[in-house]
């Protein structure tokens, strides 16, 4: 008998739920998409209140946000944000179609996964979640996962119509978006650690700063 069979055998013998256990498991897995637990009021924002809550929650976790009227305003806003942060006018991005047609002007744009030193990276979030000010990113050629973690300053673009109330809506959207990516990354603020002297510091291994461009559409 294999280790697998022995472990499963012991578990099967001890698992004590009454009734048709296989049917219960099938039913529970088929319930995917329906929340049976309480959904916090925090996760139920709508309309303009949703964007305001997203911005407030993001600020509470040390993220910053600029609202832009359209995607076309992104290159100029990014150049300005880099200048304001005293960063070189260079950005690392993926093959995101939304970024392909933009005129980046004098910004040095390179495409591909993250390298050892990445002063600034730009990603396109799949959704934003107002419940906690969280950004959801799907890994892939459009958004190499390493850009999310190697950028010292991480810029993220999300459309206002892509803001959701809570995690339930996010998971529904993830299921509806086709093939599951290798990683779905939920990002809530810049990287941090309190491991030295029990004192919170930003920028542990990942980004020291997280800045969101919210496209009003």
């Amino acid at each position: 008998m294999s280790a697998r069979e022995r472990i499963l055998g012991r578990v099967r013998e001890a698992a004590s739920a009454p009734g048709d256990r296989a049917a219960a498991v099938r039913a529970r897995l088929a319930s995917a998409g329906r929340q049976t637990a309480p959904v916090p009021a925090l996760a139920a924002s709508v309309d303009e209140a949703r964007a305001a809550q997203f911005e407030a929650k993001l600020a509470a976790v040390d993220g910053t946000l600029t609202r832009l009227p359209s995607l076309e305003a992104l290159p100029a806003a990014l150049a300005e944000a880099l200048r304001a942060r005293n960063l070189a006018r260079a950005i690392r991005i993926g093959e995101e179609p939304d970024f392909a047609g933009l005129d980046w002007g004098g910004t040095d744009v390179t495409r591909g996964p993250g390298r050892l030193e990445e002063p600034a990276t730009l990603s396109r979030a799949f959704r934003g979640v107002a419940e906690t000010g969280t950004l959801a990113l799907r890994s892939g050629p459009e958004n190499p996962v390493t850009l999310t973690f190697l950028g010292e300053t991480h810029f993220v673009v999300v459309r206002r119509s892509e803001l959701l109330g809570g995690l339930e809506e996010l998971f529904a959207a993830a299921r509806g978006a086709g093939a599951t990516p290798r990683t779905l990354n939920l990002v809530t603020g810049p990287s941090r650690s309190a491991d030295i002297g029990a004192t919170l510091q930003l920028g542990a291994h990942g980004p020291k700063a997280l800045h969101v461009f919210l496209i009003e559409d």
Binding site: I7, R10, S16, R192, H205
Partner: protein
């Protein structure tokens, strides 16, 4: 064999910890933060206690159907191109991890924070086999440099003072100028960041733990704040997830219920910075991510807890709230507990996993104040289970003879009401006579153990409760 324990030495460990000034200063500094932040997070979410009930029910459902969920989960991992390895013991897990590393011709293995790998003693084993393990969580990195084990499940270096971090970095980072400025906390963080950043690109294998395994999707989930776990799983060509079998949740909605109580209970955050759902290896078109994805499912004694009075412990999501709120943990720190898991959850889990002979001291390291159960997001009845372990320890005659003798004497007296009342009456009058202003500053014999630290309250004059109790004819209090 799992990680060697010093748990039988708990009392000696605890005495040492109480006398350790550096440890005491580190503990005193960290202690108030966790409980205050948890209380604030709880107050900000009206549904928090309802979510705790839901989280408890969800995990109870999983444990009652665990075999079926494990099979469903395994199917989804394989469908998405991953590999599942079943490890009955820590030794099996070590062997499996080593085989994966050898196949990948690994010289360096990066590690995100995983308590399961501590339980299996992976680091020492890899090192013995010529593979360098590098802990990348900042706290884990610090204690790896110091040759220590974690003293807290989410703040592994909480016992280390800043000066000790400085010393460790100066010693380990010999390639950097000796006279460099390491005064500020930010310079220490920056140095660790730079040193570890290089390591991410060197490792052939990355090992992470898993906060959850999702049966619906075959995803493993890690919840972190630093981003090291993500770099450890995205840059090497092989990602190994080490997870114990009870980490299963059925659906993504169920995962959200756990997420809503986890970070709030742990650090008081509404959501940790990085919550990552990983499925299989990188897709054909992906420019980054691992080429291989392995999950090592560890039992190591857990299946034996199912169906017993200790099953509820398998609901634990490793938030650390129980230890953050434990007066014993906060007095002695995590190392005194002598094995992988400290605090109240460790006191229950340790004897379950390494045996009551080895771990039976820990359930005695409790005042039964009940704060651990009061704050547990999964509503695990920790004091009840510690009591069960005490009973088992007593039944197995592992309790010291003085304790057994004392308990025997108490039982003799307590089962003879007249004798009991006579004894307590004398004791109460004697204590009342010793009191000054309602307090007793110094007790003789065993009582000195109490009054060396603080006053003992003197009984009210007028006798014991029973001597004053006057029921009416029907036996009701008059």
């Amino acid at each position: 064999m799992t990680l060697q324990s010093t748990t039988p030495e708990f009392k000696r460990n605890a005495r040492g910890a109480l006398a350790d000034e550096k440890l005491q200063s580190a503990l005193a500094f960290a202690k108030p933060g966790f409980s205050t932040k948890r209380a604030q997070a709880r107050a900000a979410l009206p549904e928090f206690d309802d979510l705790r009930d839901a989280a408890r029910d969800l995990k109870d459902h999983v444990l009652g159907h665990l075999d079926l969920y494990l099979e469903a989960y395994e199917r989804r991992v394989i469908e998405s191109g991953g590999h599942v390895h079943w490890a009955e013991t820590a030794e099996d897990a070590r062997r499996i991890v080593l085989e994966i590393c050898r196949k990948a011709e690994a010289k360096t293995v990066n590690k995100g924070k995983t308590m399961i790998s501590e339980e299996c003693g992976i680091n020492d084993f890899l090192a013995e086999n010529g593979i360098a393990p590098v802990e990348t969580d900042l706290g884990e990195y610090i204690i790896q440099l110091r040759g220590e084990h974690p003293s807290h499940i989410i703040a592994p270096a909480v016992h280390v003072t800043v000066e000790e971090v400085r010393e460790a970095f100066r010693k380990a980072h010999g390639h950097l100028p000796e006279g460099r400025d390491l005064e500020g906390l930010d310079t220490l963080l920056a140095e660790a960041r730079t040193v570890l950043r290089k390591k991410y690109f060197e490792a052939e294998v990355g090992i992470t733990g898993a906060n959850m395994l999702i049966a619906e999707t075959g995803q493993s989930v890690i919840v972190t704040n630093e981003g090291n776990g993500d770099l450890s799983q995205s840059l090497p060509k092989v990602h190994v997830v080490m997870a114990s079998i009870e980490k299963i949740v059925p659906t993504l909605e169920d995962a959200s219920t756990i997420l809503r109580v986890l970070a709030r209970s742990a650090t008081g955050q509404e959501m940790s910075v990085y919550t990552t759902f990983s499925q299989g290896p990188r897709r054909a078109e992906d420019p980054d991510g691992p080429e291989e994805y392995h999950v090592v499912l560890l039992d190591n004694g857990r299946s034996n807890m199912l169906g017993t009075e200790f099953q509820d412990m398998l609901r634990c999501i490793r938030c650390g709230a129980c230890m953050n709120h434990c007066p014993v943990y906060n007095a002695v720190g995590g190392h005194a507990y002598g094995w992988v898991y400290p605090g109240p959850m460790g006191a229950v889990l340790t004897p379950s996993l390494i045996g009551v002979e080895e771990g039976g001291q820990l359930p005695n390291a409790s005042t039964f104040c009940g704060r651990c159960e009061a704050v547990c997001p999964m509503r695990i009845p920790l004091p009840r289970m510690m009591r069960s372990w005490r009973e088992r320890e007593f039944e197995k005659r592992l309790t010291p003879s003085a304790t057994r003798w004392g308990l025997g004497l108490w039982r003799f007296v307590a089962s003879r009401p007249a004798l009991y009342r006579l004894g307590t009456g004398i004791a109460s009058r004697a204590l009342a006579a010793m009191g000054r202003g309602g307090r007793i500053a110094k007790l003789p014999w065993a009582g000195a153990g109490w009054t060396d630290q603080r006053d003992f309250p003197a009984p009210e004059p007028g006798g014991t409760f029973m001597s004053r109790y006057r029921p009416d004819a029907d036996g009701r209090p008059s």
